[in-house]
Point group: C2
Chain length 445, copies 2
């Protein structure tokens, strides 16, 4: 596709190009523009029809949106803005520098300007920032027939017409009706007869993570956002929630790998920004790891007497770290999905104790046999290492399983507090056990 477009541009066959573009799906055009250089991408964008242009625009990256705003005429910009859904417009403005925002506010009406400013003030991860204002509102006195006529008249510009909102004269939300019901029910029925009054709602400042949970729990397609007086201020649609879910997952992956979370794409991020997100946690963990070093210091005599003990340090530390992060990952993920609650503390403890007993016993035995058969370490050292392995795995799994719950209990983020720290903590535990067991068994006290 890419080659074909370049060819058409180079041969200046613009009307043919225009025709072919208008047959494509907006997302695919946006992907294509992503691969073109700035000059060509603006040529392609200018050839799009009015409807198409707004949709394609909403799928572009912020950098490309900025390029295009800089290159197109004010009238064309105004056209696109009018076609954009309000939530896409806010997403776009949130990422633009002040001068671009100013340019856009200048081509907006007084009323739009007020609304844009209000929406830009909602925190970026709140319901307010996710919602759109293009919804269908009905009155409960309408009949099904009147409602369908109302939708036919006003529905074209709405982001969704599949859920309609029943408002009173003060715009308070009284119920919802699905288009499904309207189409399937008798024309003569009243909205008040068929509307659902048990509406699940969210408030403007609620966090996107809670909102995503509501969508997942109740299999929602849309969710109304109300203010404190239960007045409808906007609606959130499932397509934005799918993005939120992926974004929250990405953040958890990043936190658990000891990074400050970001929603920038990797390839689009600058190296200083990437370095900054990584260095802080590495520094904290580096300093904490020196405490682990201090443990070795304390047992330097033991170590210098039996230097061979040092060769098993990496294996013990790595296994401890891996065992601990297995447990912490399962528990952090279980909490994120709502499968594990604070009250399950003891159940997790008991489960990890038994699982780690099994795993520790298995690995300890295998290691014992392996060391006896394959190394010259001798019985005492083989036993020291294997017994340490067993104790360490039990400790690592119990700490790894319960620390995330403790973090949550103290209102700390489990992914950020428990993920990266687990390895450091269990490494220290592993070494303390190791040297104490060694001193005892090898009679070095």
């Amino acid at each position: 596709m890419y080659e074909r477009i370049i060819e058409l541009i180079e041969e200046k066959k613009f009307s043919l190009l225009k025709e072919e573009l208008n047959e494509m799906i907006s997302v695919d055009i946006a992907e294509l523009i992503d691969e073109l250089d700035k000059k060509n991408s603006i040529i392609v964008f200018r050839l799009l029809s009015k409807d198409h242009a707004a949709e394609v625009f909403s799928y572009l990256s912020s950098a490309q949106q900025k390029d295009i705003v800089g290159a197109i005429h004010e009238t064309k910009l105004k056209e696109i803005l009018e076609e954009l859904y309000f939530d896409d417009m806010i997403d776009f403005l949130e990422e633009m520098p002040a001068n671009v925002v100013k340019k856009i506010l200048m081509v907006s009406t007084e009323e739009e300007r007020k609304l844009i400013n209000q929406f830009l003030n909602y925190p970026e991860t709140s319901a307010g920032s996710l919602m759109t204002i293009e919804y269908v509102d009905l009155k409960k006195e309408m009949s099904v027939k009147e409602a369908l006529a109302h939708i036919k008249k006003t529905g074209l510009d709405k982001e969704t017409i599949y859920t309609c909102y029943v408002l009173n004269e003060k715009r308070k939300l009284e119920g919802i009706v699905s288009l499904r019901k309207l189409v399937l029910m008798d024309d003569e029925l009243l909205i008040s007869d068929i509307m659902n009054e048990d509406v699940i709602t969210t408030q403007t400042l609620d966090d996107q993570e809670e909102i995503a949970s509501l969508f997942k729990k109740y299999d929602l397609i849309t969710l109304p956002v109300v203010d404190k007086e239960n007045r409808l201020v906007g609606i959130i649609t499932i397509d934005d929630i799918v993005d939120v879910i992926e974004q929250e997952n990405t953040e958890d992956f990043q936190k658990m790998a000891a990074m400050e979370p970001t929603d920038e794409e990797y390839l689009a991020s600058g190296i200083f920004s990437l370095a900054r997100k990584r260095i802080m946690w590495l520094l904290i963990l580096m300093v904490s790891a020196t405490f682990t070093g201090a443990i070795i210091s304390k047992f330097e005599d033991v170590l210098s007497t039996v230097v061979v003990l040092a060769t098993f340090i990496p294996m013990l530390m790595d296994t401890a770290g891996n065992a601990g992060s297995q447990s912490s990952t399962l528990v952090i993920r279980g909490m994120a999905l709502g499968e594990i609650e604070l009250e399950d503390y003891l159940m997790v403890f008991w489960k990890e104790l038994r699982v780690s007993g099994l795993v520790g016993l298995g690995l300890g035995l295998i290691n014992f046999v392996r060391m006896l058969v394959l190394t010259a370490a001798g019985m005492k050292i083989a036993f020291t290492v294997s017994f340490t392995l067993f104790v360490t795995i039990v400790l690592a799994k119990v700490v790894g399983g319960t620390l995330p719950i403790a973090a949550k209990k103290f209102k700390l983020d489990p992914a950020i507090m428990a993920g990266p720290l687990i390895t450091t903590i269990v490494d220290a535990l592993a070494l303390i056990v190791y040297f104490n067991v060694a001193s005892l068994i090898l009679g070095l006290v």
Copy 2:
């Protein structure tokens, strides 16, 4: 709520309980049943109305579904099965033991039985296993008015009526029409005039991960599933895809924490099953970590001369592991989200090289000053450790960033191959660098 229900059961106020239950949302009833013991949950389930019962049933865990199938009468079971959407029925049957499946096939008609057997044969992560057969089909010769009448007549049992499928007499998919269009357009228009012929489709054996990507990319609500002759066999709806996305994320978390992936809930899993999922990778990593130990062995002379070197091993290993998994996590996640492709290999390499240079320089310098000021290590050892830190971070990040792409290139799962192995690999690298630098600088060669 829980206390209230228990109270009503104990006081045997069943008709009041029935009334209150029928005012609740199905998901919430399912959650409530989750908390009740077996006896009470069956009491509650029996009180549900027919429609409610099927919906609640589809939200229950497999264990509870099994209990209920065992306890209710055949007639009631048949009623529920008739109300269940086909995809929920298949999900349920996939988890049931053979005798339950048999019981259910016995109460089904010949035709249903054939269909059920066909669907149970699709792999669990394929389109076939996700799809449902309750969709609206239209003919292209219908007018909008006729289509709406057809929907009104047949739509009640359909899982969704928001996208309708235009089929020819051989059931080949010719296009789709959204209910939105049907409601907004003129009654007299023909379906063939307004239908969208550029339909995005999937095939029965396509994998759920690819299907989820299509939903994300094109902001879909439903996706038609066709066979090789382009005949429509079913549709997939967004609510199931939201579950798929979370499931795929959970699997990636598990793989990156060195576990075999599973979709069992943590608290519902037995300890032997949990232990089995964890022990294999721990064993593999334990054995590989012994190679790291072998490196220490090789430098035992260096170590016994300058025992203090051992105290910095944990810090170097931990920092290397953390730096490596930061990079591998970002790249694995970027590939999962489709932001990083195989062709980006060199870009990732070059980016990690520069980022790691910055991070390594920062941490190296801080560590050098810290060791000089706070420890008695002396200039040479401080330099050895800090320089090793720098080199290790660069190596760890370059390996961490590129290994996942290499894994994918060789058709291996990046999350499983690169995640757990990174730490082991970079630990070994760290120690090799450390002892070589130490030998050189301290003149121990």
